[in-house]
């Protein structure tokens, strides 16, 4: 019995640590810098301080995962009531909004789309587009992954593209040593292409919708679907060739031409048969949803339109509820709802403003130019956290802080939402990284090897783009 308790304690050490940190912070007095803000910008410093305590505890628990993530979500919700930050109905209202509907709808649509088996069509598309040369194939994987993920979300695209990539790798050789670099090139082209692409439109990722939600909630901006694309697509188009070059020169595969592998892939795709009526219907439903996002999102919200899409997939028999239920990440939906709820509390209580001011105070030695300084804090904070937490959770928590830093809320908001896609450095950074790692063909060290270059490149391009946005 004692041994079981010791084992439990060692497994849950980060939970105990988070609880201890929470308890100690709760016993300490409210920071004087927070007290001094009491007035117009901060109504109740105690509530603001307690909100920050919940955020700190949640970050520890999300990074180290000593308990299931849905448990962290539940903790973030009930602590708001227990610590007197809000009443139960207030917490419930902040928990569910259009961004959570969108995350729920897009995750469910992803399951419906992936289960259609459209990957073989994608395979043919890529080969037609690229031919046999390896660098062109890598370009095709990055380009098509980026394009698709900008509309349907990164993890959906990675899940569909991975079998195509693996087929090419194994068709080249089953000897892992011989195809080590080729495997890394192709799989990272898929994962990083998908991650980059997710900035392209609001529907590319839940975090984009969360940012749009914050802009609306705080009365800072009202961005349409196409309006978003005008800001982000130029950056995406610039990033694609640079990313291909980075991946090519990092992994330099021995195989410069994949002649026989491509031929075999064509045969394999041909064997899988032509597109079925069900496949076509699935694409039509997605196109309807897409048109809804473009033309109706201002009136109806992106989330409600995504839910209509799921409804259509279900009533048309394109996916069974049991499959949808099994493969949808309900825990993540709970977590994002809770993260948005705490994000709204940070804004409401003034904790976000306090954190924004404190961060600028601490880092003011780095640069005289306050606009560069706050941009740098926003991007680095988001970029680092997105590699440790989830990118949507990062935007949910960081969003209100960044939008309280001052400066142009459009530039700051876009920079944060885009920086949250820079999840290149670790396996746990995003589901796309975890999916390619789960193939067993890329190592943890490969993520750092290519990731730091992608990270720096993305920050530099984002900086240049944000200058354009500020001037326009």
């Amino acid at each position: 019995m004692l041994q079981h308790i010791i084992f439990w304690l060692t497994q849950k050490r980060w939970l105990l640590f988070a609880l201890a940190v929470g308890a100690v912070l709760l016993l300490l007095p409210v920071p004087s810098s927070m007290e001094s803000m009491q007035g117009e910008t901060m109504t109740d410093p105690i509530k603001a301080y307690r909100t920050m305590i919940i955020v700190i505890m949640a970050i520890i628990l999300i990074i180290f995962e000593p308990v299931p993530l849905p448990a962290v979500a539940l903790m973030m919700l009930f602590l708001q009531v227990i610590l007197g930050i809000d009443d139960p109905n207030g917490v419930a209202k902040s928990f569910m909004n259009d961004a959570v509907f969108f995350i729920m709808g897009s995750l469910m649509m992803a399951v419906a789309i992936v289960s259609q088996g459209l990957d073989s069509r994608l395979a043919l598309g890529i080969i037609r587009f690229t031919g046999n040369k390896t660098w062109r194939i890598a370009f095709g994987f990055v380009g098509i992954s980026a394009f698709l993920s900008s509309f349907i979300g990164e993890h959906t695209v990675t899940a569909m593209m991975m079998p195509v990539g693996l087929t090419l790798i194994y068709n080249t050789s089953t000897d892992r040593d011989a195809t080590k670099n080729l495997a890394a090139l192709i799989l990272f082209s898929i994962a990083y292409g998908s991650a980059m692409g997710s900035i392209g439109t609001p529907s590319g990722g839940g975090r984009n919708v969360i940012m749009i939600g914050y802009w609306q909630e705080f009365g800072l901006a009202d961005i349409s679907y196409l309006g978003w694309m005008r800001y982000t697509y130029p950056m995406l188009l610039v990033e694609i060739p640079i990313a291909v070059a980075i991946l090519w020169f990092t992994f330099r595969p021995k195989q410069k031409v994949l002649d026989s592998a491509v031929r075999k892939l064509k045969v394999q795709v041909a064997r899988r048969g032509a597109m079925t009526g069900q496949n076509i219907l699935a694409i039509i439903v997605f196109l309807i949803v897409f048109l809804g996002w473009v033309f109706l999102s201002k009136k109806m919200g992106l989330g409600i339109i995504a839910l209509i899409g799921v409804f259509l997939y279900l009533v048309l028999g394109l996916i069974r509820w049991s499959d949808l239920n099994r493969n949808t990440n309900w825990g993540v939906i709970l977590l994002f709802g809770a993260a948005i709820s705490i994000g709204l509390q940070m804004k409401e209580t003034g904790a976000a403003l306090w954190f924004a001011n404190s961060a600028i105070d601490i880092m003011k030695n780095l640069s005289e130019d306050i606009s560069i300084l706050r941009w740098l804090i926003a991007v680095l904070l988001t970029g680092v956290l997105t590699n440790l937490l989830s990118n949507s959770a990062t935007v949910a928590v960081i969003g209100p802080i960044v939008l309280n830093m001052g400066g142009d809320p459009i530039v700051m908001g876009f920079s944060t939402a885009i920086a949250s896609a820079f999840a290149y450095l670790t396996v746990v950074a995003s589901p796309t990284c975890m999916i390619i790692h789960s193939s067993g063909l890329v190592q943890r060290s490969d993520f750092i090897k290519a990731g730091w270059k992608m990270f720096i490149m993305s920050i530099v391009i984002l900086f240049i783009m944000s200058k354009f946005w500020a001037d326009s």
């Binding site: 004692l2 041994q3 010791i6 084992f7 060692t10 497994q11 995962e65 299931p68 993530l69 849905p70 992803a110 399951v111 992936v114 289960s115 088996g117 990957d119 993890h155 990675t158 899940a159 569909m160 991975m162 079998p163 693996l166 087929t167 194994y170 394999q268 493969n327 949808t328 990440n329 825990g331 993540v332 989830s390 396996v427 746990v428 995003s430 589901p431 975890m434 999916i435 790692h437 789960s438 193939s439 067993g440």
Partner: protein
């Protein structure tokens, strides 16, 4: 008896399988081979599962299946198990999910009643602990190439005897070192030692270590009983009485040409957690295969 053998990779698992199967045969034990893949974060689990379903659709095996397939073929090739190829077998390597992180693995067109294959994902200690509790295994076997901390945690937390196959060379002749004392785990360790000695056909060195020059009645009786057991089973043995720090004496006596079999510590778990134990010290300081009997 039920044995669980954990394999990590083709490079390091050959001797683990060899030693594990040889000992399992002497116990006439049912053997299960488990591969534990990396933990998949909660954020990514359903997405990864979705991608894996697509991979299976394209006839790709999940990572880890190739290691289990290699282990199965290695055992069949070396006559540790009998494998039968049948036409009505599974048309491809098939995984049957039996739990969130656990799958039974059935290889394409092949059956064997001698061994089960299990694929798991997650923290290795938690997964092995769970597998041992679920299957009621008597002995868990891991390779010595695994991280030191892992072997340490296995001894602490897994409810079965543990065999750690450190640097085993099949071409070398080993002896069996059996430390005995008056603890209540010694009789069980002696029984296991007999089986291991029979499995390898090797001589047993019975070692009694006292911290002082004097050997108490309990120590002498334990050595006497162990010797009697060896005689009865027809095993060649030699009795050694030495004094000094037990962990140091055992390391010096074992050298690098013994398989060590010893009882687990009977200290309370809190003391073991903070102060360690004799088997842990022996495991950490010896380059030999070591079986810690619980």
């Amino acid at each position: 008896m039920k044995f669980l053998i954990a394999v990590g990779s083709k490079e390091y698992s050959e001797s683990t399988l060899r030693v594990g199967m040889q000992i399992a045969k002497s116990f006439q034990a049912a053997v299960t081979i488990v591969y534990v893949g990396p933990k998949i974060s909660d954020f990514s689990l359903p997405h990864v599962r979705l991608a894996q379903e697509r991979m299976e659709e394209w006839d790709f095996d999940r990572p880890g299946v190739e290691v289990l397939e290699w282990a199965f073929n290695f055992l069949a090739k070396n006559d540790y198990i009998t494998s039968t190829t049948i036409e009505s077998g599974f048309p491809k390597n098939t995984l049957v999910q039996t739990d969130g992180n656990r799958c039974d693995v059935y290889l394409q067109g092949t059956i064997s009643t001698d061994v089960n294959l299990i694929l798991r994902n997650g923290d290795i200690i938690s997964e092995l602990r769970d597998e041992v509790a679920r299957g009621g295994f008597d002995v868990t076997i891991i390779g010595g190439s695994q991280k030191r901390r892992m072997a340490h945690d296995m001894i602490q937390y897994i409810d079965s005897s543990i065999l750690i196959v450190n640097k085993y060379n099949p071409d070398k002749t080993y002896g069996l070192l059996l430390p005995v004392d008056d603890s209540r785990k010694t009789p069980q360790a002696v029984k296991y030692g007999v089986r291991v000695a029979q499995a390898f056909g090797i001589k047993v060195d019975l070692l009694t270590v006292s911290k002082t020059n004097k050997f108490g009645k309990g120590y002498r009786n334990a050595a006497k009983r162990a010797a009697k057991m060896m005689r009865r089973m027809g095993i060649e043995y030699e009795n050694h009485f030495k004094h000094g720090d037990p962990a140091v004496v055992i390391r010096e006596t074992a050298g690098n040409d013994h398989i060590i079999v010893m009882g687990t510590s009977t200290k309370n778990p809190i003391a073991k957690f903070f102060m360690g134990s004799k088997p842990l010290q022996v495991m950490e300081s010896n380059p030999c295969p070591i079986l810690i009997v619980k």
